[in-house]
Amino acid sequence: MECALDAQSLISISLRKIHSSRTQRGGIKLHKNLLVSYVLRNARQLYLSERYAELYRRQQQQQQQQQQQPPHHQHQHLAYAAPGMPASAADFGPLQLGGGGDAEAREPAARAAPQAAAAASPPASPAPASSPGFYRGAYPAPSDFGVHCSSQTTVLDLDTHVVTTVENGYLHQDCCASAHCLCCGQGAPGPGLASAAGCKRKYYPGQEEDDDDEEDAGDLGAEPPGGAPFAPCKRARFEDFCPDSSPDASNISNLISIFGSGFSGLVSRQPDSSEQPPPLNGQLCAKQALASLGAWTRAIVAF
């Protein structure tokens, strides 16, 4: 009996396990939860890399239709959009963890993405056994994600001084699916600023570093001035997660963007922001996922 779970199912199964471990007799088992969080990290990395590939593919399509921008810049944007994306994940090869953050990793990732997207775009019936086939079947269909908010991001590329308007598409709107979204609100004010229903927070790229430092500041309810966005979401997020209802796509992706892995040691290191131009919103979501700490760990380690 073969079974090939896609990244989303694995994520929901893993979260369910963590949730049920809280009520298990004998208390939370640290070892098991640690192992489950590794699976979560692996699945999330694949899921995010697939989303980036999809995003890139859509942008390529738009670009072919509109032909507004020289391909070179688009290329660069997408490369910057996925610093955490493991180079080989876009190839849907064996999962490489610890995501490359250097320029060399990014370039082949961006180049490989369209090929991988093309190869994977009709989701094949799950292939048995080996890892590459395993992942290939997990490519999420674009129709999985309803359009909740269509928004545009206007971004300035500091290297080329080119202003680009990017349709954020699914990645962004997934994050906005619930009221507890962290990364809604684009850095650059401008036309088409997303104001999806329920998005409470504005998130400015400049705040990132402050937020990283302030992660652990304050208690559960406190809201430090920098607006550590994850703090008030902890309780709500937990209640959000309902193991009985079948989690829909937007819920899962929202949890992904908020959750992180719960243990920062498991999380791929964030690229040094000094090397980066102002990131796209897609990267904001990923960065937020990478940066958010605390809540699930505290849920797990209830000592």
């Binding site: 079974c3 779970l5 088992k29 999962l95 700490l293």
Partner: protein
Amino acid sequence: MNCPDESTYGNKADIISTVEFNHTGELLATGDKGGRVVIFQREQESKNQVHRRGEYNVYSTFQSHEPEFDYLKSLEIEEKINKIRWLPQQNAAYFLLSTNDKTVKLWKVSERDKRPEGYNLKDEEGRLRDPATITTLRVPVLRPMDLMVEATPRRVFANAHTYHINSISVNSDYETYMSADDLRINLWNFEITNQSFNIVDIKPANMEELTEVITAAEFHPHHCNTFVYSSSKGTIRLCDMRASALCDRHTKFFEEPEDPSNRSFFSEIISSISDVKFSHSGRYIMTRDYLTVKVWDLNMENRPMETYQVHDYLRSKLCSLYENDCIFDKFECVWNGSDSVIMTGSYNNFFRMFDRNTKRDVTLEASRENSKPRAILKPRKVCVGGKRRKDEISVDSLDFSKKILHTAWHPSENIIAVAATNNLYIFQDKVN
């Protein structure tokens, strides 16, 4: 591939959670999920009953641990016995350590086969006599009685572990022992229950940076300063207590580089070591992870000396095994007395033996249907793909609720004890 509820197979409290022979092999102790310890004793060989040579019968049963409640954390503490370790026998009584998640206890198991009779101040039923009626004095004498085996808790070592205890190990000095939980290892003196020394602490300053936990620990069989502990990342650290008081820095570090072609979602889980055991000689350590058993030479840290595949056919089933939680099963492994054969359990009540010299291996099954007394165990085979032969069993037919996690090997003879859920099987090699 479902995993039926264990209660299908009887009372959940009867599920055996640990098995251990004592140092002579005369006694065999089992602990169960209900906190009970059952000790079996080997029948003395007698000319009268040749057929009953060497059988193990129940010697003593007692309740070692009870469920407890930690009010501060609102947590229930399971009474399940995680490990039993015997102390070497130093007098007529037997001593063993048993532990649940939080508390270690030292039990004394002793026999009473005589009782004093002929008291002056009380009669045979124990009623006090009126001193005025006593006209003579006599000395009480010991008279034989029916054998009674009593177990008394002699020490309780509590409140030293924040996390769940996974191992205990008696030191070769017979004065100290260690207990290990997910993040810390403590050293105890048998005589002192209100203090223990912390010798390993891998808890990070920020728990969010946690990447690995301690999964098993054991003292070297001869060198009282040396011990090893394994981690959830598939590494083993050997520590020398003479080096420093806190052994956070290891003396040796055993790790095999990961094979990148085997990478999957579950790589971290299947590389987590579930058991580590020194060989009797002290020259090797054996580790068990989800799919393999490895033998390491203490002098070679960069890779194991030998790797044995226990049930590699499960590699393609990992995500089902993750769904039904079987991937978290912690299998133990054991050496035989001469360190030439190693044994470990699998699913479907199968257990595997690997002969390190001949490189032959065998799969056997512990089940009532297949083993009558004095019947010879038939080797089993799992069919991986293609045509299934008559006696083979296909991977999809394996019963994953029947798992053999705990086995033990007599210290000097070819007698093995195999725990299959709530049944204990004892097999002897009749060749001797």
